[in-house]
Amino acid sequence: MYPDYMTESLKKVVASRNKRFELAKSGKPVYPPMDADEREDVLNKFHPDFKKESRKKIRIGPNKGELLTTEVTEMLESHSRIKPELFDLSNPDYETDILIIGGGGAGCAAAIVAMQHGAKSIISTKLRMGDANSMMSQGGMQAAVKPQDSPTRHYLDAMGGGHFDNKPALVRALTEDGPNVVKWLEELGMIWDKDEEGSLQAMHGGGTSRKRMLSSRDYTGAIIMRTLMDEVRNNPDKITTLEFTPTVELIMDARGRAAGGILYNIETEEYFTVKAKATINATGGYGRLHIRGFDTTNHYGATGDGLVMSYRAGAKLMYMDSVQYHPTGSVFPEQIAGFLITEAIRGAGGQPLNKFGELFVFPREPRDVESAAIIRECVEADNGIATPSGRLGVWLDSPLIDMLQGDGYINRHFPAMHRQFIRYGIDIKEEPMLIYPSLHYQNGGVEINDKCESNIPGLYVAGEASGGVHGRNRLMGNSVLDYNVFGRRAGTYATEYAKKVKLGKLNIEHVNAYEEELKKARIKTDLIAPVLLPSYTPESVRKRQLTAHYEGTLR
């Protein structure tokens, strides 16, 4: 239920709805899309990345001297959790072909494909398998399967969305593998939305010039993730899953190749060593670092662990100055602040509106542009709606969807969204949602090529942890595709490599060397990373935890 003081603004939304409905039905854009100059202008002035204090020069490591997102620089200029001299690497606790770090979509896809190519793997994951952003994507996955569409058209849309900074070979891999991924998942038992003749339902997302968003109601990520997890669990003799046991540092061999990792059981607080012929970093993103103080759509464990352990080992990062804010995070009620509202709502005809019930932006600009335009409307034009706790937001007019797509569409296609709001007495079929950009995605990551190879031999990276494929701005539906395409590729190429490599003596000397670099650069910090979990303990409680010794957020 919205508070009474919002009634007047809500009435204005209702009053303008019929006119906006007619406009949407005409097939023309409901608001003029921005050209290149307009995009640049709104990004420069209002996107959080472009604030001066958003970026900070990193003083050590492979990207030394570059401006990275401030919170990332601070996380990278940190101490390790471990003391290398305490580990005996001559007798590792586990040995396997491939160590896969992260049990989300990319990690599970990699494990399944590696298994099909004959490699055994260990999945090390911080929480449960599937506790990942992959589980949470609602709206869909892009893949060019329609006759009026093509992988090259998909390529052009992705490049434009990424401001042409994307690595071409990666975008080609992404878009050309797309149709195959749809089929591969279906053969594993994934359910795609289809009509009775089998034709795949395809919708628009921000920045798409063809309808290519394929979906599974608004549980797309959950259905894919559970299909992959189930397949992993069906093969316990080939894939070993270690839950609540994240990897905290990489292990190297004498020739500087990645050769496994140090794992930490967060419940028993024990450390374990894993020797692996190849290592796949699939740790996902960093939303729980709450960059610039933003709420996030991300899952509990999204703390950028893979970045810091790869960086310490010498991996080069790409586009770590660029953060994605999802245009439509929820801001009311307070209990669901920051939660993701799928972009498919706008794909199906939902419109962002200011407090006067007016359109102020084309509803399907690429995410960074759409977010910046919403912030501009709230901050510069002062046309936002304030919530009781002082957050600002604009309306996202969802009742239009059933008007445009036919009665029952929201019930059939957005059951998760409907459920999210009806718990708090807001029926999105009748009333709009209140939204503001929410921290959503790590655009950059460890630089890879189209075989998922990083600059460290034996270290493969896939999914959100990698950088290059999305340039500096990812389009909707391309991350679900990304973790499948590159998870599969990582599984394939890591297996190929693992079959040939002969490892030398193991070491974790790079951890000492990095500590030495910190000292030389005179960096004083008490931060320990990987961060592993965010802390939501109130300050007053933490003060009373006198006897607790913390390493980051964990004891």
Binding site: M136, V145, V182, E186, G198, L200, S209, Q335, Y536, T537
Partner: protein, 239 residues
């Protein structure tokens, strides 16, 4: 404009907020009345390792059972999306012990015999409806178990679609069925065997395999940025 961190926020507002008392595993704590169960547990000072995942109602990590004062009923909910109430007595389910059948999706059939073989306990269902009552997603869990007994795979898929696999149904079931794993099996059977084939997809995969887009890709990948930009801003939008 950046918003305040959740951490700082709850602290700053603590004095002015309306508070309620909840009993976390039997121990009383004063927490903000507007908090979710998960927010309340963290506010009390716990660092969650079990019992928190996506925090948005999709992953099923935070199954919680609770009772209210003067009420004999057991209530269930997801900690991330259920609001606290005065006097609530709650405990989280750290994990649910569940039987999962191991199978090869390529070798099973979408029929009742598969259910009989992999999850024979389904046929012990006494139709008590405890599962449906426990479901935090308000699914008709018992109905899909009935459909599973009939081998109606498509109906199980549809009725169990929104399942988050939190385990609350299984833990309440007197017949010891693991409903959510039956649902997942049927979803996979449906996706692989019963969903109608997409002819356009089959055709597109053939085109990709025959390198139909090779030349276009090469042109795009070697184009100057200014040319690519022009193509991008000039491209037509499907309505």
């Amino acid at each position: 404009m950046a918003k305040k961190k959740a951490v700082k926020k709850s602290d700053a507002k603590a004095t002015e907020e309306k508070m309620v008392t909840v009993f976390i595993m039997g121990k009383g704590y004063k927490v903000p009345a507007e908090a979710t169960i998960m927010g309340a547990i963290e506010y009390a000072g716990y660092l969650l390792k079990r019992g928190a995942g996506c925090r948005e109602g999709f992953c099923g990590a935070c199954a919680t059972v609770y009772r209210m004062p003067g009420d004999y009923k057991i209530y269930t909910g997801l900690a991330c999306t259920t609001r606290v109430e005065e006097g609530m007595w709650l405990a989280q389910l750290p994990a649910s012990p569940a039987h999962k059948a191991i199978y090869d999706i390529k070798k099973i059939k979408p029929e009742v015999a598969t259910i009989q073989e992999l999850y024979p306990e389904v046929f012990r269902c006494v139709a008590c409806n405890s599962c449906s009552k426990a479901c935090p997603q308000d699914l008709e869990v018992m109905d899909y178990i009935q459909e599973a007994k009939r081998g109606n795979i498509a109906a199980v898929m549809d009725l169990s679609f929104d399942c988050v696999m939190c385990g609350l149904c299984a833990i309440r079931c007197p017949a010891e069925i693991v409903q959510y794993n039956v649902g997942l099996l049927c979803k996979r059977l449906y996706g692989r065997y019963l969903a109608p084939e997409s002819k356009e997809l089959t055709k597109r995969i053939k085109e990709v395999k025959s390198k139909k887009f090779d030349k276009e890709f090469k042109e795009l990948m070697t184009a100057k940025k200014s040319d690519l930009e022009k193509q991008y801003y000039d491209r037509d939008l499907e309505s």
